[in-house]
């Protein structure tokens, strides 16, 4: 079988090697990725190495007094994405369980189509709609400026929810299909099969969804930039303003002309690059390729 597939004839063997064009293309793709890392790390290295005050690892961003710390932004990124996930992950799980087990036909199709469509909505459009719809509501209801941690966090959870729901569904559905008949014969409802049999098997998938959601939330620029208020501080409450690494990068390139502020820009970029690379690799380890999800356990 294998021999037929791999081919044994002389012509086949001569064609074993990939055509030059394809090898060139793969090389170009890898070169692009390597250059991305090389450039950003090379520019960030001096900033990483620079010690003491004025460096990037301080708690204060006061450009006029020579302080360029980005730790508040790092904390802002982490706080914002974690709070978004806190809302989005259980919701994604619930939506996924619901479409898999209980939803009546029409609603299920509608929900699926809605989730599909949500992955296509540009973040800038989400941001635009939220600035004029959500922030006035928050301003009226809770006071404050409206552009705050809460607004950005709500919209971010809306942004990452479809991604997570799709990953969860891709991971849970094959397992559910396999266990459904036996479970129902034992008198379990579909939801009970999901909760007691499928979910304990799918810890890796659930964690992968969480990680990928985190990567997406921490990497998004426009929603925090438009909705979080961008004050470089640690927020004390949900209605206070915060600034994320991504928004910081956009603001610095728009407003500053160089010098130490740029160092903080490169450091922020390198931090994001490293965090997201680690997250992607971990998530891939956990979930495998989406196509490989079914049957990875058992």
């Amino acid at each position: 079988m294998r021999k037929i597939h791999g081919g044994t004839g002389a012509a086949e063997r001569a064609g074993e090697k990939a055509p030059l064009l394809l090898r060139l293309a793969a090389g170009m793709a890898l070169l692009g990725i390597a250059m991305l890392f090389a450039m950003i790390l090379a520019f960030a290295l001096p900033a990483f190495l620079q010690p003491g005050p004025g460096g990037a690892f301080g708690w204060f961003w006061r450009p006029y007094q020579g302080e360029f710390g980005i730790l508040p932004m790092l904390a802002g990124s982490l706080l914002l994405s974690c709070s978004a996930l806190l809302l989005a992950w259980p919701l994604a799980l619930a939506v996924c369980c619901w479409t898999l087990s209980a939803a009546p036909g029409l609603l299920r199709t509608g929900t699926r189509a809605g989730i599909r469509f949500m992955t296509a909505i540009p973040t800038v459009v989400y941001g635009f709609a939220a600035v004029f719809l959500l922030t006035p509501l928050i301003r009226a209801g809770l006071g404050g400026a409206g552009r705050c941690w809460l607004a950005a966090s709500l919209m971010l959870s809306l942004l990452v929810l479809p991604t997570m729901a799709l990953i969860l569904e891709a991971g849970l559905k094959p397992r559910l299909d396999r266990l459904c008949l036996g479970g129902q014969a034992l008198g379990l409802s579909k939801l009970e099969i999901l909760w007691f049999l499928v979910l304990p098997q799918s810890r890796k998938t659930m964690l992968a969804a969480l990680l990928l959601g985190f990567g997406r939330a921490a990497g998004d620029t426009l929603l925090p930039l438009m909705l979080a208020g961008n004050a470089p501080q640690l927020p004390g409450a949900l209605t206070e303003s915060l600034r994320t690494l991504t928004a910081h990068m956009a603001l610095v390139t728009a407003n500053e002309v160089g010098g130490a502020a740029y160092n903080s820009l490169f450091t922020a970029g390198a931090l994001l690059l490293i965090i997201n690379a680690v997250v992607s690799l971990l998530a891939r380890r956990l979930a495998g390729r989406p196509g490989n999800l079914p049957g990875e356990q058992m």
Partner: protein, 304 residues
């Protein structure tokens, strides 16, 4: 269906009972949020969806031929986005599709693993980091080879190309891997060499799937804002003037209006732009999804 089965009397853990009571609410809540946001956009944006949204007061033909500049319409931003898409695809097509083909057909397992990891990392990289890449590249060029290097259409397209590369690679690879094994075996049995098989059998068979990946990449390219913010998008550039010139683009225009609008007309223009962008990106993604579903059904669902 199972309500009178024996398991019903068993007491379940509290977390499960909570979940059971609430989980039906999540999807309607989600749909409600989605519909209210979309409804809000439609309500304010739909009235301005007409030709003058694109061209302002200028007659369309004169605007399209570039004889008269458009100041109060989206035409410059729209052409900017089209130029970005064209250039980006021109840059990304060969490495993207080529690398996908290489992965699906030729790569040894070890290389496959390495390239797969690299592509995964690239897919997870935030778009603003891609923008920063272009930014550092320009700084680097300024210090070394090209002192006059500046942000513009070409650097922005190069970064966008890097951004859509994983979409193209994964799309191509999955399209090829969805082609049934029997087709490969038949081609091998007929004495096709590997490259003949790829060109004469697999590529024609995978065509629709390839288009799906391509259109998805175009949608991704049209919607991204963070990359072009750092690499040369501006609010008032007029029609794109050249490869190194600054340019306007729809997503950047939407962002700019949110931050800087001064009059009610500008705000309405912003709503129109957001709606147009939503239709463009959403339409492209749905088209890609439709193509992909049809493609999969053709090769995998239609088993006799």
């Amino acid at each position: 269906m199972t309500s009178h089965m024996p398991g019903e009397g068993v007491k379940r853990p509290p977390l499960f009972r909570l979940f059971k009571h609430c989980y039906g609410l999540a999807a309607p809540l989600l749909l409600f949020c989605l519909l209210s946001l979309l409804g809000f956009l439609l309500y304010h944006g739909a009235p301005s969806l007409n030709l003058s949204l694109l061209f302002g007061d200028v007659p369309p033909l004169e605007a399209i031929s570039g004889r008269r500049p458009v100041w109060d319409g989206l035409w410059p931003a729209f052409t900017g986005t089209l130029c970005l898409i064209g250039l980006t695809m021109g840059l990304a097509l060969l490495p993207g599709i080529g690398c996908g083909l290489y992965l699906a057909e030729y790569a040894s397992p070890r290389r496959k693993k390495i390239i797969d990891s690299a592509v995964d990392i690239l897919a997870g990289t935030p778009s603003i980091v891609m923008g920063l890449f272009g930014f550092t590249l320009i700084l680097f060029l300024r210090r070394t080879l090209l002192p006059e290097a500046n942000t513009g259409l070409l650097p922005a397209s190069a970064c966008l190309a890097l951004l859509v590369l994983p979409v193209l690679i994964v799309g191509t690879r999955e399209a090829l891997e969805a082609v049934p094994e029997s087709l490969r075996l038949t081609a091998a049995a007929l004495g096709f060499s590997r490259s003949q098989r790829l060109r004469r059998v697999l590529l024609p068979a995978a065509g629709q799937g390839l288009w799906g990946g391509l259109i998805l990449a175009i949608g991704r390219c049209a919607e991204d804002t963070a990359v072009i913010m750092l690499t040369g998008a501006v609010a008032n550039a007029g029609l794109p003037a050249g490869l190194t010139a600054k340019f306007e683009a729809l997503p950047f225009f939407v962002y700019y209006i949110t931050a800087q609008y001064q009059t009610q007309e500008e705000l309405l223009l912003g709503f129109g732009a957001a709606l147009l962008l939503l239709l463009l990106a959403g339409g492209l993604t749905l088209l890609a999804h439709g193509l992909e579903t049809g493609y999969r059904r053709r090769w995998q669902g239609g088993k006799r």
